[in-house]
Amino acid sequence: MTVEDRLRATSEAIADTMRPVRPLTLPPEPSRQLARRSRSRRWRATLVPLTAALAVLAVAATLVAGKYLNTARPSSPVVPPSGVAASAATVPRYYVELSVTANSSGQRPAIVGDSRTGEELAQVAPPAHLVFAGVTGAADNRTFVIDATSTLPSNQGTHAWYLLRVAQGTGHTTRLSRLPVAALPGTYQVQGLALSADGRTLAVMYQPATTGSDAQGPFTLRTYSLGTGKTLRTWTTPDTSKGGVTISPNPDNLTDMTWASDGRTLAFVFPPGTWPDYERTLDIASKGSDLLADSRQVLAIPGDRHNCVSLLLAWDGRTMVCGTMGNATGGCVQEEPEFDLYSTATGRLTRVLYRYRGNCSAGIAGLLWAGSGGTAIGLIAAYHNTGNGVVTDFTVGLLTPGKFTPLRVHIPVGYGFTTGTFAF
């Protein structure tokens, strides 16, 4: 029997042993929304005969509403509390987690939690016909930007940008409002999302999504002013689509894009989604618009053993924290998941921040946030093979050199170790 014959026989055998395929489940008809829009247009048409003065007033009112209600402009720059950027031991209190499962209302909310108490403070529902796709936070730990993508067929996947604020005070009131940053068409896949420490600048890296389920072609990095919504700078890579480079869809920030606290250094893993990892930094104040030529490679992970599940630039811009996977045959005892600290100046491993020495069949060290001086918030996923299946234990903790202090942060089942779904 030739290899071709064996392949055909296996294909047929699979067809014979498959259970019946489940029926297709489509979302509810989108047409009602479209119909509502038509009715709204008809209602507006009846206003046309009204006086010019009324029309002017209506336009003015719309503009005012647009300015002060529908869009959010931080009234003042978000200044990190003094010492936040420098203090090694500060634990950010609030976190925003994009839920991976739907609640009883069928929505996947953003959950605002308190890392000190483990309390869930608020559930923020996405606006109608939107799903949350990525989140990033500023240094004040109360300002977050969320990428929300449209579910409407007419503008499927279009990215709109929202500001989520946790108000001062004990009420932990949250407010979600639309930012004036221009929407990004659904034909693009966001691969990087990072809000600067002062909360003034949003960096977004994206790629064309050619079929809606993949992304390939040149990367674009843009920085936007949160106050005005204007594009500040743009960088691009050469078109890689002809080279066969294909990046699969993932939640935002597969590149682990991070800002240093200086407000001008951006770091990102490039290319994303492949091993080994290469970290680059970009000085956004320097000239040029070529993402690769004008940025600098600061780290090339030496081998499989040290590949990073997540890799974040520390706020000081001088170090990078990497969470590794322990995946040897002998389990965690033979190869422990660990958090490593690298120097951006030399690209060398400066120290192992923490090595998990618990008993597990395999483990992953992921990162949720990086501060300065080797301070970070990490996540250890320990897999235990019980014989009846695999049980996973998630532990979130504050990393300081040599120590891992558990925090009360809830990690949802199905968490995918992507920094864009979790922000401090």
Binding site: V3, L7, I14, T17, L26, E29, Q156, D214, A362
Partner: protein
């Protein structure tokens, strides 16, 4: 006129669902088989195919040629499988994935000789595996394989012939 527009809009949305569902009923089994050859997991294969059809439903209005819907979905399934495989390799240790019980049972029913072929396929580089599955397991013409994988016909030829040679070597070594 407004009323008519509304009715047409509603009708168009209903028609899209019907057309996509009809395509699903006709081609889902074959596409799930394709995904199973890649993933060796029916649950995962069905998820990938459902996602591909959901994508088709959402983008139906933007398709330049609805006659190419099958090619679009096939390409989406390939991409979906790539994603699943990449996530498996990157995010979860290979030896600690939880296979769904029914998939495990289905694999057991397949028989040793076919399990060997699936295992050998998994050892091929991604591009060779895709080309071999599309070309030889599903019997697609080279042009269709090229379209599904978004590569040139020449690359399909070289990837599938290299894949076949590697597969023969792997299978010879195992038997």
């Amino acid at each position: 006129m407004e009323r008519l527009t509304e009715d047409l809009t509603l009708q168009a949305a209903g028609d899209t669902a019907k057309q996509v569902t009809a395509l699903y009923e006709e081609y889902a089994t074959g596409l799930v088989r394709l995904a199973m050859l890649m993933l060796a997991d029916q649950q995962g294969a069905e998820d990938v195919v459902q996602d591909a059809f959901l994508g088709l439903y959402r983008r139906w209005g933007t398709l330049a040629d609805p006659g190419k819907a099958l090619a679009y979905v096939r390409s989406s399934v390939i991409n979906g499988c790539r994603t699943v495989l990449r996530k498996r390799s990157r995010r979860v240790p290979l030896t600690f994935r939880e296979p769904d019980a029914e998939s495990a049972e289905a694999l057991a029913l397949l028989g040793e000789e076919h399990r060997e072929v699936l295992a050998a396929l998994r050892r091929l580089p991604a591009r060779q595996r895709e080309a071999v599955v599309l070309r030889y397991c599903l019997g697609l013409p080279e042009d269709d394989v090229a379209q599904a994988m978004k590569i040139s016909r020449g690359t399909v030829k070289s990837a599938s012939s290299r894949g076949l040679a590697s597969l023969a070597r792997i299978l010879r070594g195992e038997s």
